[in-house]
Amino acid sequence: MGLKHIIAVPALFLAGSSLLVLSAPPARPAGGIITGKVTYTGTPPKMHPIDMSKEPYCEKLHNPPDKTQTVVTGPGDTLEYVVVYISAGEKSMPPPTTGERFDQKGCMYIPHILAMQAGQDLKIYTDDPVAHNIHPEPRLNAEWNKSQPPGAPPIDVQWEKPEFIPVKCNIHPWMHGYFAVVATPHYAVTDADGNYKIVGVPPGTYTLTAWQEANSPISKQVTVTSGETKADFSFHVLPYAF
C-alpha cells in the first residue's frame, strides 16, 4: 500500500480513540455521605433585637426587628449556622470551579455564615439602595475594606488561607457574618433544623469538626463507608452570648 495509507491508519486510530475518550461519561462523585444533627445543652442565650433605626429604609423592612444571630436555635434544641467540615485525614484537593455568592439585603448578610474552600471564587452582591462597606477582619489573610454604593457591581474575592473570617459593615455595624474558609471541599452548614449533609466523601477515616461562632469547636473521628454515615454534635451553650 502507498505511503499515505501507512500514515492514514494511525491517524484514523488516533481519531477513533480520541472520539471514544470524548464520549466516555464523566466520573460521578463516588464515595459516602456524612449527615447529622447539631444540638445544644444548657439554656440558650437571649438574642437581642437589632436596632436599625440608623437606616430607616432597612428598619421598615424588618418589623418586628430581627434578632442577633450569634446562637440561632431551632426546634428540638437544634443549632443553626454551625459549620461542619473535614478538618484532617484527607489529602488536599483543588477548590471547585463553581463560585460562592454572598448577599447584602435589607442591611443583613445572606447567608449569615458562608462556608467555602480556600481559593474558591467569592462574589459579594448588594441589592440595597443604601451604601454598604464590606470589611472582612481576617487574621491570616490580607485585610481589606471596600465600600459598595447602590447598584455597584459585585466584588470578587478569593481567600488563600483557611480561616473563619468575621465580616462586617461599618456603616451598619449590626451587619455581621462569617466567611468560613476551610481547606476541604467537604463541608456543610446546618439548616434551621440543625441538619447538615456532606456528600461525595471518599471512604476512609477522618476528623470531623463542628464550628459555632460563639463556642469552641468540637471534633470527632468518623469512618466513612460508601453508604451514609451519621455524626451528631452537641454544644453546651451559655445563658449569655455576651
Binding site: 475594606n145 447598584g151 455597584a152
Partner: protein
C-alpha cells in the same frame, strides 16, 4: 545707574543645560521652577476639586476613566466615599502646601527678593537649589500615593489622629497612602526650612548700598516676615510628621490612647493622645494660613501703589506693622481650631480673644488699601484688577472670621461649609488672586514678554464673579448646618440643600474652565508675546532698574545704590514717579 561702582563678579554664569536650567543655583531659575511646580500642582488640585464637586452635585454620576486616576477604586466609574475623601485629602494637601506656600513665597520670593534688595543671588545658592529639589521630591512622593495600595489617604489635609495613626485598620488609603503623605510633608518641611534660612539671611545681609529696612519694598518685607513664620512653623510640623511615621510604622503610640477597638480586637496601643497631634499640627497649621496670605499682602501692596500712582496710605510702615503683628499673633491662636475638641472649655475663651484681636491688624491693612485707592489715578490693568479683587475677597473671607472666632457661635458653625467658605475666601482665593496679580505684573520681567491684557481681563472677570458664585453660597449651606467632608448628603436635613451644591458645582466648572484662558495666555506670552521694556509699569523698585529678563547676576555687574523709598509715586515733574535708584535730586535732564 549714574555712579559707576566697581563691577562685582561673584560667580560666572554656568554652562550646559543641566547646570543652567535643572540643577541651577540661580535664584531666578529656582524661582521659575517653584512657580512651574505650583502651576502643575494647582491644575492637578483644581481637577480634583472638579471631581469632588461633580460627586457632591450628582452622587451617582459615572465619570469615564475615574478608575484610572487612582487606585482608590471606582466600581463602574462611580465615585466611592473613600475615593471622594482621598480626593479631598489630596486637594487640600496639594493646594495648601504645594500651591499657596510654593507660588507666592518660594516662587516670586526666590525670583524677586534678591533683585529687590539689590543682590546678585541668594545668600546660599546651593542651599536654595537643594530646597527646591527636596520640595520637588516631596511632590512626587505625594503623587505616588495615588497609585500605591488602595489609594491616597482619606484623613484630610489635617490628618487627624487616630484616623491617620493606626494604619489600615481605619480605612482604605490609610495602610500605605498615609505613610507616603507623612513622608512627603516631612520632606516639604525640610525644603521650606532651608528656604526660610535663605530668605531671612538674604534680606538681612545682602541689601545693597542705601537699601535700609525702611526702603525695602513691601513684597520683600512680606517674604521676610513669612520666612520668619515658616522657620518656626515647619520646625514644629517636621517632628509631628516623624512621630506620625513612628506611630504608623514602628509601633509607638504617641497619638493612640489605650482601649481602642480596631478590627474587632483591642489595639495594642496605650499612653497616647489624639489631642497631641491636633496641638502639634495646629501650632503649625495656623501660622501656615499666614504663610499663605502674607506674601499676597506684600505683592498686592507692591502692585497697588504702582497702579494707583500714589504712595500707600500710611507709607510702608503701617502695613509692615500689620504683617509683623499678624506674624506674632499667628502663634497664640492655634487653639481656635480646637474649641470643640475636648480641651478644657476655659481654654476656648483664652484662645478666642487673641483670635478676635487678629482682626485689628487685618482690618487696618484693608483700610490702608482702600484708603490708597481713594484719590488715586488707578491704571486698570489686569494686575491692578486682581489687587482690587483681592481686597474684596479678603474682606468677604475676613468677615466670616468674626463668627468662627467665637466659641459660642463655633458650636453651631464648626465643621460646616461656613468654615469651608471662610478659609477658601480668606486664604485660598485671596492668596490665589495675589499670585495672579503678581503673575500679570511680574511675568514681563520674568520671561521678558508682555502678557495679553484682553485675555487677562476676561480671565479676571470670569474668575472674580466665579469665585463669589462658588464660595458665597457655601456660607448659606453652613448656616443651614451643612456638615463638611461628607461624600454625599443622605441626612434629611441635608437633602434639600443638594440643589445649592449643584449650583456651586456648575459655577466651579465654569470658573475652573476660565483658568485655561490664563494658562493659554501664559504659554502664548512665553513664546509669542511682544517683547517687554525694562519698566513697563513705570514702577520704582529695583527689579525695574534692570533688563527684562535680568542677566545672570541681576544687574550686569553694576552695584545698585538706593536713594529713595520704594513707593515714591505721584510726584511733580516730567515723570510722576522716582525710582529707588534715581539720584537724590531729580535733575531735569
Amino acid at each position: 545707574m549714574h555712579d559707576a561702582q566697581p563691577a562685582v563678579h561673584h560667580h560666572t554664569a554656568p554652562e550646559g543645560f543641566i547646570r543652567k536650567y535643572v540643577f541651577s543655583v540661580d535664584h531666578k531659575v529656582i524661582g521659575l521652577q517653584y512657580y512651574g511646580l505650583a502651576l502643575v500642582a494647582v491644575f492637578v488640585g483644581m481637577v480634583l476639586s472638579w471631581l469632588m464637586r461633580l460627586h457632591l452635585g450628582w452622587a451617582t454620576l459615572a465619570i469615564p476613566g475615574l478608575h484610572l486616576l487612582s487606585s482608590a477604586g471606582a466600581p463602574g466609574n462611580v465615585m466611592t466615599p473613600e475615593y471622594y475623601l482621598s480626593l479631598m485629602t489630596m486637594h487640600g494637601t496639594i493646594m495648601v502646601f504645594f500651591v499657596l506656600t510654593n507660588a507666592p513665597l518660594a516662587g516670586f520670593g526666590n525670583y524677586f527678593l534678591p533683585i529687590q534688595v539689590g543682590a546678585a543671588d541668594m545668600a546660599f545658592p546651593r542651599m536654595n537649589m537643594m530646597s527646591f529639589w527636596v520640595t520637588f521630591t516631596a511632590f512626587i512622593v505625594l503623587m505616588l500615593s495615588f497609585f500605591v495600595g488602595d489609594g491616597p489617604p482619606l484623613s484630610g489635609w489635617t490628618a487627624y489622629a487616630t484616623l491617620s495613626s493606626v494604619g489600615g485598620a481605619s480605612g482604605p488609603g490609610e495602610a500605605t497612602g498615609q505613610t507616603f503623605w507623612a513622608i512627603s510633608i516631612a520632606l516639604f518641611c525640610i525644603g521650606q526650612l532651608l528656604g526660610s534660612l535663605n530668605f531671612i539671611s538674604t534680606t538681612l545681609d545682602l541689601r545693597t548700598k542705601g537699601m535700609t529696612l525702611a526702603r525695602l519694598p513691601l513684597s520683600t518685607w512680606a517674604w521676610f516676615v513669612t520666612s520668619c513664620i515658616g522657620l518656626l512653623a515647619f520646625a514644629d510640623l517636621l517632628p509631628a510628621c516623624i512621630l506620625l511615621i513612628l506611630d504608623r510604622s514602628f509601633g509607638t503610640s504617641f497619638f493612640n490612647p489605650a482601649g481602642m477597638v480596631l478590627n474587632g480586637e483591642v489595639a495594642k496601643y496605650s499612653g497616647g493622645s489624639p489631642l497631641l497631634w491636633q496641638h502639634l499640627f495646629w501650632f503649625f497649621g495656623h501660622p501656615e494660613v499666614y504663610i499663605a496670605i502674607i506674601p499676597a499682602f506684600g505683592i498686592v501692596s507692591h502692585i497697588l501703589a504702582a497702579s494707583a500712582r500714589k504712595p500707600l496710605l500710611g507709607g510702608t510702615r503701617v502695613l509692615i506693622g500689620c504683617m509683623i503683628a499678624l506674624a506674632f499673633l499667628s502663634y497664640v491662636v492655634w487653639g481656635h481650631h480646637m474649641f470643640l475638641s475636648g480641651l478644657n472649655p476655659f481654654s476656648a475663651i483664652l484662645f478666642s480673644v487673641p483670635t478676635l484681636i487678629i482682626t485689628i491688624p487685618a482690618t487696618i491693612a484693608v483700610l490702608m488699601w482702600i484708603g490708597t485707592v481713594y484719590g488715586a489715578r488707578l491704571r486698570f490693568n489686569t494686575a491692578c484688577l486682581f489687587c482690587l479683587g483681592f481686597i474684596s475677597v479678603f474682606v468677604s473671607g475676613g468677615i466670616s472670621g468674626f463668627f468662627l472666632a467665637q466659641p459660642s457661635i463655633d458650636i453651631y458653625l464648626h465643621a460646616t461649609y461656613f468654615v469651608v467658605a471662610h478659609f477658601h475666601f480668606v486664604m485660598a482665593v485671596a492668596a490665589i488672586f495675589g499670585i495672579f496679580a503678581g503673575t500679570y505684573f511680574w511675568m514681563p520681567k520674568m520671561i521678558g514678554r508682555m502678557m495679553n491684557e484682553t485675555l487677562g481681563k476676561w480671565h479676571f472677570w470670569l474668575t472674580f464673579v466665579g469665585v463669589y458664585c462658588i464660595f458665597m453660597p457655601m456660607h448659606y449651606l453652613g448656616l443651614a448646618g451643612n456638615v463638611r467632608r461628607y461624600a454625599a448628603f443622605t441626612d434629611n436635613f441635608l437633602v434639600p440643600l443638594i440643589p445649592v451644591h449643584k449650583f456651586i458645582t456648575i459655577a466651579a466648572l465654569f470658573t475652573g474652565a476660565a483658568q485655561f484662558i490664563f494658562l493659554f495666555n501664559l504659554f502664548y506670552t512665553r513664546f509669542w508675546g511682544p517683547k517687554a521694556p525694562d519698566n513697563p509699569w513705570e514702577a520704582t523698585s529695583l527689579e525695574w532698574s534692570t533688563t527684562s529678563p535680568p542677566p545672570f547676576d541681576n544687574f550686569g555687574g553694576r552695584q545698585m545704590v538706593v536713594n529713595h523709598g520704594a513707593y515714591e509715586y505721584g510726584v511733580e515733574g516730567p515723570k510722576d514717579y522716582i525710582m529707588q535708584t534715581d539720584p537724590v535730586k531729580v535733575a531735569g535732564d
